[in-house]
């Protein structure tokens, strides 16, 4: 079964527009003007069971609105939507038993009571049988290393501790689909790594589908093979992370430190005809820009290594983050 199937999914909001000044306020009182905003504009999205997908976009691109429709919080204005085989808003109570939700900025846990009490309450809410509950909880406590936190009230936990507990809270009923909204925001590297490992594990073991929204590109690199990118309510890219990099990372950069100063014209002459560009960084430092992704570094080296003595060399991949930034700056032309 498919985890998510959306066709032409749309959400519009009516926004009340106020006119400027006191006179405007009077006119507003009598005759309000509304403007319709399309937060999500006819999105098609299909996610198979067991996929880990990153859902990214700038602030205001429509990410949260989509997530809220997918989780049953909001009713779509138009379009078809089936998540885990349910209509999320109409069959909300049955549907939400099959999903888990972690909203980074909002806690699922009760602020004043001990963590384990929150878990117990959620067990009741989701009607999890005792045996399953114990087995799942023990396992998660071990992997996420939260055994020592169970009897502490949530308000006393650090952010990293709380996030790990949130994950447990979202998975107590073993949902088939997990929504994560900024799960690693503000966490240190070790906790991030711990959480990512845990997510990979539950994905592998139980085939849990994960839909992740994040600003942290390293989350995507560590977890997701597929990226859905959103801009102004529309999907502008839906495909593999690798393809995204290949199409957008216009080649790598190679930093050289040479034994002696070499004329740029000499380097250029020796590599003439290749799709590359040389840049001088210092007396003996030069940077090689490979302008096409299929140009191998070794080909370039073969041309120059006999004539130029290289002391040190470092290959720099273009980071996904740079790619994403570039796409938002320049707009998507590929895809």
């Amino acid at each position: 079964m498919r985890s998510i199937e959306a066709r032409g999914l749309t959400k519009e909001f009516k926004v009340y527009q106020s006119r400027p000044g006191l006179k405007g306020a009077f006119r507003d009182l009598l005759n309000r003007q509304y403007r319709t905003i399309r937060a999500v504009d006819a999105i098609d999205l299909t996610i198979e069971q067991g996929e880990m997908v990153a859902y990214i976009g700038e602030n205001g691109a429509g990410k949260s609105t989509t997530i809220k429709m997918l989780t049953g919080i909001l009713q779509p204005t138009a379009g078809e939507l089936k998540v885990n085989g349910f209509d999320p808003h109409r069959e909300r109570e049955k549907f939400v038993k099959t999903i888990g939700v972690v909203f980074g900025q909002r806690s699922q846990l009760w602020w004043d009571i001990a963590v384990q009490e929150s878990f117990r309450l959620l067990k009741q809410v989701y009607q999890v049988p005792d045996a399953d509950y114990k087995q799942r909880l023990d396992r998660m406590i071990e992997v996420l290393d939260i055994g020592g936190l169970l009897d502490q009230p949530v308000r006393k936990l650090s952010l990293g501790q709380r996030m790990r507990c949130e994950l447990v809270a979202a998975l107590i009923h073993q949902p088939k689909l997990l929504f994560l909204d900024e799960p690693t925001i503000g966490l240190d590297v070790l906790v991030k790594e711990n959480i990512r490992r845990f997510l990979r594990e539950i994905n592998r073991e139980f085939g849990t589908t994960v839909l992740l929204t994040t600003h942290d590109i390293s989350d995507i690199e560590a977890l997701c093979s597929r990226v859905v990118m959103l801009d102004q309510g529309k999907v502008i890219y839906d495909g593999g992370l690798q393809e995204l990099r290949r199409n957008w990372a216009k080649g790598k950069k190679v930093h050289f430190e040479l034994a002696r100063e070499v004329d740029m014209s000499e380097l250029e002459a020796r590599t003439a005809g290749m799709p590359l560009r040389w840049e001088r960084k210092g007396e003996r430092q030069v940077v090689l820009h490979l302008e096409q992704p299929d140009l191998a570094v070794s080909d370039v080296l073969a041309q120059i290594v006999q004539h130029v003595h290289i002391v040190e060399m470092q290959i720099e991949e273009v980071s996904t983050e740079e790619i994403v930034r570039k796409i938002y700056q320049e707009g998507m032309t590929l895809a």
Binding site: K68, G72, I73
Partner: protein, 261 residues
């Protein structure tokens, strides 16, 4: 059944929370106790100076007031919706509620309940008892039963009206001042309705039926037969208003726009 078990679970957690702040709990308990005691004295003193009203003796007026306190106390223990707009709409906690497999209204009720308000039942009971002692009331075996049914009916009327009002928050996140106004109107229910103008009588019976949360049932218990039909209608009116409140709520949830991030 599931909801009842859940309610008990939430109640236990609520008590644990309260008791985890030990000092606070003790202080609250004592201050609550004194507050209620003072309230009681105040009520009794004020009503000592109330003359009889249009055929109602002083003790009867006090009795009606005592009765009036009971549905209100139960209602405000379990439907503590006053801060709904702030907490659930503006702070966005309704988003979380909507991702859990229990009816949203039931969850809100369980999360906001304040069982300590139940002490008002005791106050009301004492006021009723003191007044009833002065009156020579004729209690039959089924009167206590009717008393319970009337009280529940009254709670449902409050619930229906205030749930409907709270549902307004689901359409707009601006604050409305209608709840305090409604609270004031509800106070009209604690006096015999035949002292009011016809229009007000009609309003309190059929539009904002606050006569059913105090006067009608209490008058029946006072052996005033004239309002017997109305008194017996209390549970029906309660069910109807609750249904209306839930209807408004469910519609509102469809309209809910979510909190901005």
């Amino acid at each position: 059944m599931f909801h009842l078990r859940l309610l008990v679970e939430y109640f236990k957690q609520y008590m644990k929370t309260r008791m985890s702040y030990r000092g606070d709990f003790l202080v609250q308990f004592i201050s609550n106790f004194f507050h209620q005691g003072l309230n009681l004295v105040f009520i009794l003193v004020v009503f000592q100076h109330t003359p009889s009203l249009k055929g109602w003796s002083q003790a009867e007026v006090i009795f009606i007031y005592g009765y009036f306190l009971i549905p209100w106390a139960i209602f405000s223990s379990f439907l503590n919706l006053w801060s709904f707009n702030d907490r659930y709409i503006i702070k966005g906690e309704l988003d979380r509620v909507l991702t859990r497999p229990v009816h949203s209204l039931v969850q809100v009720i369980m999360e906001t309940m304040a069982p300590e308000s139940l002490i008002g039942v005791l106050t009301g009971g004492i006021v009723m008892g003191v007044a009833g002692w002065h009156l020579d009331l004729d209690w039959t075996w089924y009167d206590p039963l009717l008393f319970v049914v009337f009280t529940l009916g009254g709670v449902l009327i409050y619930a229906g009206i205030f749930i409907a009002l709270t549902s307004i928050s689901l359409y707009t996140d601006s604050k409305s001042d209608i709840q305090p106004i409604m609270f004031n109107i509800s106070n009209y229910g604690r006096y015999p309705t035949n002292i009011y103008h016809k229009i007000i009588q009609f309003t309190l019976t059929w539009i904002l039926p606050f006569a059913f949360v105090g006067f009608y049932p209490a008058s029946y218990l006072l052996d005033h037969g004239e309002w017997k039909i109305y008194a017996l209608l209390t549970p029906v009116v309660g069910a109807a208003y609750l249904a209306f409140g839930i209807f408004c709520w469910n519609r509102g949830i469809k309209h809910y726009r979510g909190a901005g991030n």
